[in-house]
Symmetry: C2
Subunit: 242 residues, 2 copies
């Protein structure tokens, strides 16, 4: 399983992904699910992936490979984020169709995947897209400033309660980390380390990328602080009257 | 959809259910999902239901109808809670098999359901069972003192953080109400009113049953208090350091 969340706020973008993949409970591995396509001062594109690992790895590999060939449309020469999302959607269709067609008769393997694409290309607005297994996509707005893929439910209530479009990127990252913590606690198939990134609007920089491991001091502090805060809030509720 | 939670603690049992059913987003109704079989001083059995409404209504109707016939095994003459759970499991199998066999060719209707059965029969220990669509069941223990059926994920993190086997029944009900509130906020197919019940161990009483509507003063108070408490806890987290 996987849990990725991305937020598109007035001042920038926030991304957070876990890194656990599993094929059954006895085949657990760590794979990065946050991928950056960057050209300093020109563009910063961030892709997060959930779903069939063979599919998502192929998609990322093809996108990387093609971005080295300036003669074909690719993520490093797309002129808008919308075009970049279309390109990713086409690649999603290409890989899923290729692998599904080659499938042996009667097999019902699920080759599907979901991706988040966020970032900014110079001359275009910042944006965030959710790209579906069908290759089509939706864009985050002020009304719905975040998307989740993978195991999204455990970590959704806290985002719905605290996230605002005009929140600072640092607060939004705190919210993302707490959302991930709730998911890590409730679903064994979502696991550390986390890959997180902050993209300030118009920065065209990929500098603020971080990997958060089990012993990361700040993550440990807010996990503890949040857990204790919840218990204290619970204890302070007025006595039951039914 | 549905969300029901039941807790088996040292001092008794706590039950909470929503009441929304839907067949598509434009066909929403209210049906009670918490059903009590009771004989004063002898037994109190509580059934909560999730899944296909035709299936769960049939199961409850058959169990009620048969409990009026003292000559056949039924919920009012079962000698142990384990026997009662077996009886419910058999009824689940009976209804699902009947409706599945009558299904028209090619139809793929899901007739399945999940039930929680909690309570106590005089001479036997208090207990709580989760009965699966297959008719088999598991029992709650000190290690895992609660079960959920239906849309369980949004409301699980808070239970995992605060519920303890030795908690008071009043605190456990507060925890159940907050768990339901988180679910109500995140999933439109779970809705008010709520049906809740507290069963104190060895009471053999069904007196503490309550219906919680939109304007219930205490529920409104803790929904607000919990929401504000979460936001305050969030605001008090130390500044982000990555």
């Amino acid at each position: 399983m996987t849990y990725c969340v991305a937020m598109r706020l007035s001042s920038g973008l926030v991304f957070a992904s876990d890194s656990r993949t599993n094929a059954g409970v006895d085949h657990i591995s760590t794979f990065r699910k946050l991928h950056v396509f960057h050209q300093d001062g020109d563009r910063t594109l961030v892709l997060q992936t959930a779903g069939n690992l063979a599919t998502t790895q192929s998609i990322i590999s093809l996108l990387r490979h093609r971005s080295r060939n300036a003669d074909c449309p690719n993520l490093l020469n797309a002129s808008s984020l919308y075009d970049a999302a279309s390109l990713v959607g086409e690649t999603v269709r290409e890989v899923i169709q290729r692998d599904s067609e080659a499938q042996q008769n009667g097999s019902t393997t699920d080759f599907s995947c979901n991706l988040l694409l966020g970032g900014q290309i110079n001359g275009d607005e910042m944006g965030l897209f959710h790209i579906y297994p069908q290759g089509n996509f939706i864009e985050a707005t002020r009304d719905t400033p975040y998307f989740q893929i993978g195991e999204s439910k455990y970590g959704k209530p806290i985002i719905d309660r605290v996230l605002h479009y005009d929140m600072s990127l640092e607060q939004a990252m705190q919210c993302a980390l707490i959302s991930l913590d709730s998911t890590l606690r409730s679903n064994l198939s979502v696991g550390l380390p986390l890959d997180v990134m902050i993209y300030p609007c118009d920065s065209f920089s990929d500098a603020r990328q971080y990997r958060i491991t089990e012993d990361h001091p700040y993550f440990s502090t807010i996990r503890k602080g949040w857990g204790e805060g919840l218990v204290n809030t619970f204890r302070q509720l007025p006595p039951l009257v039914l």
